[in-house]
C-alpha cells in the first residue's frame, strides 16, 4: 500500500539581489515513490513559490537537476523519497546547490560557467579521419565501440566534478576529460596530438588523485575513473595499444 512520510528539507538558499545566504526548513508529507523534483514542486505549490531549483527532462537524461543531498551530488529526479530515507537513514535532508559553478539563486547554478571546462575539451570531432575507400560511412566493430561507448553516455550533470577531491582550480574535471578521452578512442578522430596536449597539460589528468569519487557518484553509473586511468597509463599515445 501507499505509504506517506513526513520529511524535512533544509535548503540552502541564496538571494542574488541582497547577496544573502541562509538555510530554510521545509516540512511536508510525501508518498514513498515521489521524487525529490516532485517534492520541490510540492513546496512551490503549497509552501513557498519563490524557491528556485532546476529540472528539465526529469528522466535522468539531461542532468539539469543535480544538487547535493546530505553532501552527496545526485540527480533529484531519480531520488525517490523512500529510497532517500533508506539510503541516508533519516527523514531530514540538507539540500545544497553544486559548487562547480556560481549560484544564480537558491539551488540554480550557472551551467554556462560549469560547461566552460567541457567546451575546452572540444566535445566534437576536431579533425575527421578519412573514410574507407568507396564508403559513405566509417566502419567501427562492436568490439572497438565497446571500449569507449560507456563514456558516451555522460550527460554533463557535473556530479563527478562536484565529488572530485582534486582541489586544483584549473583541473578540467572528470566529465570534461572524459569528453576528450572518448574522442581519442574514437577511430574517426585524427586530432590526437591536440587532445593529448590538453590531457597532459597543467589542467589535465595528473591533477586527478585517483579517489574514484567520480565513478562512485555518477548517476549514469559510468566508470569515469577507468577512462582517466587509461589516460594516466598513457594508453593513447601513438604506438600504445588503444
Amino acid at each position: 500500500m501507499s505509504r506517506v512520510y513526513r520529511i524535512t528539507l533544509k535548503v540552502k538558499r541564496y538571494d542574488p539581489d541582497t547577496k544573502r545566504t541562509w538555510v530554510q526548513d521545509y516540512e511536508l508529507e510525501a508518498g514513498r515513490i515521489l521524487r525529490f523534483t516532485d517534492v520541490f514542486r510540492k513546496i512551490n505549490n503549497e509552501l513557498d513559490p519563490t524557491l528556485a531549483w532546476s529540472s528539465s527532462c526529469e528522466h535522468a537524461q539531461c542532468g539539469s537537476c543535480a544538487v547535493k543531498v546530505n553532501g552527496k551530488p545526485l540527480l533529484t529526479c531519480e531520488l525517490l523519497v523512500e529510497n532517500a530515507i533508506e539510503h541516508f537513514g533519516g527523514t531530514t535532508f540538507t539540500i545544497e546547490p553544486l559548487t562547480t559553478a556560481p549560484v544564480v539563486r537558491d539551488l540554480v547554478v550557472d551551467f554556462d560557467k560549469a560547461y566552460e571546462r567541457v567546451n575546452k575539451a572540444k566535445p566534437y570531432i576536431i579533425d575527421p579521419s578519412p573514410k574507407p575507400a568507396g564508403e559513405s560511412e566509417y566502419r567501427i566493430s562492436p568490439r572497438e565501440l565497446e571500449r569507449y561507448v560507456e563514456a558516451t553516455r555522460c550527460i554533463n550533470c557535473f556530479c563527478c566534478a562536484e565529488a572530485c577531491i582534486s582541489s586544483h582550480r584549473n583541473f578540467l574535471g572528470p566529465n570534461a576529460l572524459m569528453a576528450s578521452i572518448v574522442r581519442l578512442m574514437d577511430p574517426r578522430e585524427q586530432a590526437r596530438e591536440e587532445r593529448l596536449e590538453l590531457l597532459y597539460s597543467e589542467q589535465g589528468v595528473y591533477r586527478c588523485h585517483t579517489s574514484m569519487a567520480c565513478s562512485f557518484v555518477c548517476p549514469k553509473e559510468i566508470d569515469v575513473a577507468h577512462f582517466i586511468a587509461l589516460a594516466k597509463a598513457d594508453r593513447f599515445r601513438s604506438g600504445a595499444e588503444k
Binding site: M1, R35, E58, H59, L80, V108, F111, Y124, I125, I140
Partner: protein, 598 residues
C-alpha cells in the same frame, strides 16, 4: 521595477534560433557548412542546449539503407502516409524520406555513436507501423544509438554548432517577435538569470521551440515543453496547424509518465491486463503490440475503462502491465538497459522479475506552426512571412499528419533542420535594420501585468487544474460535451491566472515569473486544441471522437487555427498535398485515401 521593463541591449546577428534542441542546432550546423562565420545566436529556455528535450528520444530513426536488398523508400513513404491517417503532406513525405539516409550518414560522419552490427555497419531494428511491401511484414528500418538515440543526435549537433562558432543565450525565452513591415527581423528575449530584456535583430529567425506536452498531466515531455512557440505565433495573430492532432505514447511509466520506449515492444515485450490476457491480440490480430501508437493507446484505455486495469496506490493511477520477464538477460542488459533502468529507478521495480506498470502518456504534437517544404512560416496557404522559419516538433510541414510513426520524429528534426538551413542562407544578404519603434511594448505590458497581479492563488495549482481537465477530456477519447466543458473550464482558469500573483518582486532568476508566462502559453494552446477538436467531428489518427468514431472525407484538410483574444478561435483550412497520388507514378494507388488497418 521600472528600470527592468526596457530593452537593456540589442544583439545583432545573421540568424536567430529560438530553441537550441536537435532541429535548431542541426540547422545551425548546416548554415555553418554552407557559410562559415555566419553569426548565429541560439536562445534556449533550458540551462544548456544539452539539456534539451531531444536527449530523451530513445528508440531510433527511420531511414532506408540504400544497401538494403529488400527495403525501399517507397515503403517508408507508404508507412508514413498510412500512419498519418492520410493527412500528412506527400511532398514533405517524399522530401524527407528521400533525404533520410544521407542525413544518417551526416550524423555518423560527425561523430554520433550509432550501435553497430558485426560488420561494423549501423545496426537496424523494427518499430510499430514499419513495413515491407506495403504492409506485408515488418521492416528493420530504424538506426539507433542503444536506447539514447536522441542524446546521440543532440551531442553531435551541439558539438558541430559549437565548432562553427555559435553563440548561446541559455536560460532565455523569446517573448515577442519583431517585424519590419511584413518581415520578421528578430525577437525580444527575457534573460532569466540576469532578469533583463534584450532585443535580437536578425536576417532570419527560426522557431525550434519543441512541443506542448505540459498541457497534460501525464506526459513524457520535459518540464519546459509548454507550447511557447505556438503561443507566441498565436499572440502575433498567426495561425497554427492541426492543434487537435496530439499523440499519446501507449506506454508511459506510471507515475512520472516517463517514456517506456516502443523498443520494449519491438524486442518482444507483451501487454497484459489484470487477468494476464495478451489483449492486443483482440485489437490488432496481425501486428499485436507493434500496431501504431494510437491503436495501442486506445486499446489500453479501453481495457482500463472496461475494468481490466490495475490500480497503482501510490499515484492513484490505473494501468496495464508490460511483461518483459521472458526476455533473455542479454536483451535487458544490451538492448534496453536505460529503459529497464527507468523502472528500477522511478518505480522501484525489477523488469527481469516483475511486471511493469504502464499507461498511455502524452508524447508528441503533430500540431505546429504551418510551414512550406523549406520551413518558411505561412500566414495562410498562399503567403509566407519573410524571414521567419519553424522546424522540429513546433513546426508542421506536415510530415506526420494526424499520427506520427515511431522513429519518424528525430528523422524530421535532422532532415528539415538541413533543408531549412539551406534556405536560410538565401536570406543572409539582407540588411540588418534598426530596432523598430514600439518593439518590446507588448512584452512589457504583459510582464508588468504578471508582476502587479494581487489575487490569492498559486500558479502551480492552476497549471495542475488545467492539466487535469485536458487529460480527462481532451486526450485519448474526446466527446462534444467533454470539449464544450473544457472550453468553459479553460476560460475560468484564464481568469484565475490573470489574478494570480507572483510572490517575489525580484527579476533575477525569478522562476515563478517564468512559470506565470508559461501558464499563459499553456492556456492559450489548450484553448486552441479544445476548439479545433470540437470542430473536427470525425476521428482521424490520434484525434479520436467517441461520438464520431469514423474518419470522414469532408474533413480531409489541415486545420488552421488562430485566436484573436482568449477563447475567440477562428478556424480555416489548408489542403493536404497528395502529389504522390496525383503524379500517377508506380504504386500511386497506395497513396490515395486508404484505410488505416493493421
Amino acid at each position: 521595477m521600472g528600470n527592468t521593463l526596457q530593452i537593456g541591449s540589442t544583439i545583432y546577428c545573421d540568424v536567430l534560433i529560438i530553441g537550441a534542441g536537435g532541429a535548431g542546432l542541426r540547422c545551425a550546423a548546416e548554415i555553418f557548412e554552407r557559410k562559415p562565420a555566419t553569426r548565429i545566436v541560439a536562445l534556449t529556455k533550458v540551462s544548456h542546449p544539452q539539456k534539451s528535450h531531444t536527449v530523451t528520444a530513445q528508440g531510433g530513426m527511420a531511414a532506408v539503407d540504400p544497401r538494403d536488398p529488400i527495403d525501399k523508400p517507397i515503403y517508408h513513404m507508404f508507412d508514413t502516409w498510412k500512419g498519418s491517417d492520410c493527412t500528412a503532406d506527400q511532398n514533405i513525405i517524399k522530401k524527407i524520406v528521400d533525404a533520410s539516409w544521407g542525413q544518417i550518414t551526416w550524423l555518423e560522419n560527425h561523430g554520433m555513436h550509432f550501435s553497430r552490427d558485426e560488420n561494423g555497419r549501423l545496426s537496424k531494428r523494427t518499430f510499430g507501423g514499419m513495413t515491407l511491401n506495403f504492409g506485408e511484414s515488418s521492416a528493420r528500418r530504424a538506426v539507433f544509438e542503444a536506447d539514447r538515440t536522441g542524446k546521440g543526435i543532440m551531442d553531435t549537433v551541439w558539438g558541430e554548432a559549437m565548432k562553427g562558432g555559435i553563440s548561446f543565450l541559455n536560460q532565455s525565452i523569446a517573448t515577442e517577435l519583431i517585424f519590419n513591415g511584413r518581415r520578421c527581423v528578430g525577437a525580444i528575449a527575457f534573460r532569466e538569470k540576469a532578469g533583463d530584456f534584450v532585443a535580437i535583430l536578425s536576417k532570419a529567425a527560426l522557431f525550434a521551440t519543441g512541443g506542448n506536452g505540459q498541457v497534460f498531466r501525464i506526459t513524457t515531455n520535459c518540464q519546459q515543453n509548454t507550447g511557447d512557440g505556438l503561443a507566441l505565433i498565436l499572440q502575433e495573430g498567426l495561425p497554427i496547424m492541426d492543434p487537435e492532432a496530439i499523440q499519446f505514447h501507449p506506454t508511459g511509466i506510471v507515475g512520472p509518465g516517463i517514456l517506456a520506449s516502443e523498443t520494449l515492444r519491438s524486442v518482444g515485450g507483451i501487454l497484459r491486463n489484470k487477468d494476464m490476457v495478451r489483449f492486443m491480440e483482440r485489437y490488432a490480430p496481425k501486428m499485436k503490440e507493434l500496431a501504431p501508437r494510437d491503436l495501442v493507446s486506445r486499446a489500453i484505455e479501453t481495457e482500463i475503462r472496461e475494468g481490466r486495469g490495475i490500480l497503482n496506490p501510490d499515484h492513484n493511477i490505473q494501468h496495464v502491465w508490460i511483461d518483459l520477464r521472458h526476455l533473455p538477460d542479454y536483451v535487458h542488459d544490451e538492448q534496453i538497459p536505460e529503459v529497464t533502468g527507468f523502472f528500477r529507478k522511478f518505480v522501484a521495480i525489477d523488469p527481469k522479475k516483475e511486471l511493469c506498470p504502464v499507461r498511455p502518456s502524452n508524447h508528441y504534437q503533430m500540431a505546429g506552426i504551418p510551414t512550406n517544404e523549406f520551413g518558411e512560416v505561412q500566414k495562410d496557404p498562399q503567403q509566407i512571412i519573410p524571414g521567419l522559419f519553424a522546424i522540429g516538433e513546433c513546426a508542421c510541414a506536415s510530415f506526420h499528419g494526424f499520427n506520427r510513426l515511431g522513429s519518424n520524429s528525430i528523422l524530421e528534426l535532422i532532415t528539415m533542420g538541413k533543408f531549412v538551413g539551406e534556405r536560410v542562407v538565401d536570406y543572409l544578404g539582407e540588411d540588418l535594420g534598426e530596432l523598430p519603434a514600439g518593439a518590446g511594448e507588448k512584452t512589457f505590458s504583459q510582464f508588468s501585468r504578471f508582476m502587479e497581479a494581487k489575487g490569492k492563488d498559486n500558479i502551480g495549482h492552476i497549471r495542475e487544474a488545467m492539466q487535469g481537465v485536458m487529460t480527462e477530456k481532451v486526450s485519448i477519447f474526446r466527446t462534444e460535451d467533454g470539449l464544450t466543458d473544457t472550453i468553459e473550464a479553460l476560460k475560468e482558469l484564464k481568469d484565475r491566472a490573470d489574478r494570480a500573483p507572483v510572490s517575489s518582486r525580484s527579476w533575477a532568476m525569478n522562476q515563478e515569473l517564468v512559470h506565470r508566462w508559461e501558464l499563459d502559453n499553456l492556456l492559450t494552446v489548450s484553448m486552441v486544441i479544445a476548439q479545433a477538436a470540437l470542430e473536427r467531428r470525425e476521428s482521424r489518427g490520434a484525434h479520436f471522437r467517441e461520438d464520431f468514431p469514423e474518419r470522414k472525407d469532408e474533413f480531409n484538410y489541415h486545420t488552421l487555427a488562430s485566436m484573436s483574444e482568449f477563447g475567440q478561435v477562428s478556424l480555416g483550412k489548408r489542403p493536404i498535398d497528395m502529389s504522390l497520388f496525383e503524379a500517377k507514378g508506380e504504386h500511386y494507388d497506395r497513396f490515395g485515401l486508404i484505410e488505416r488497418k493493421y
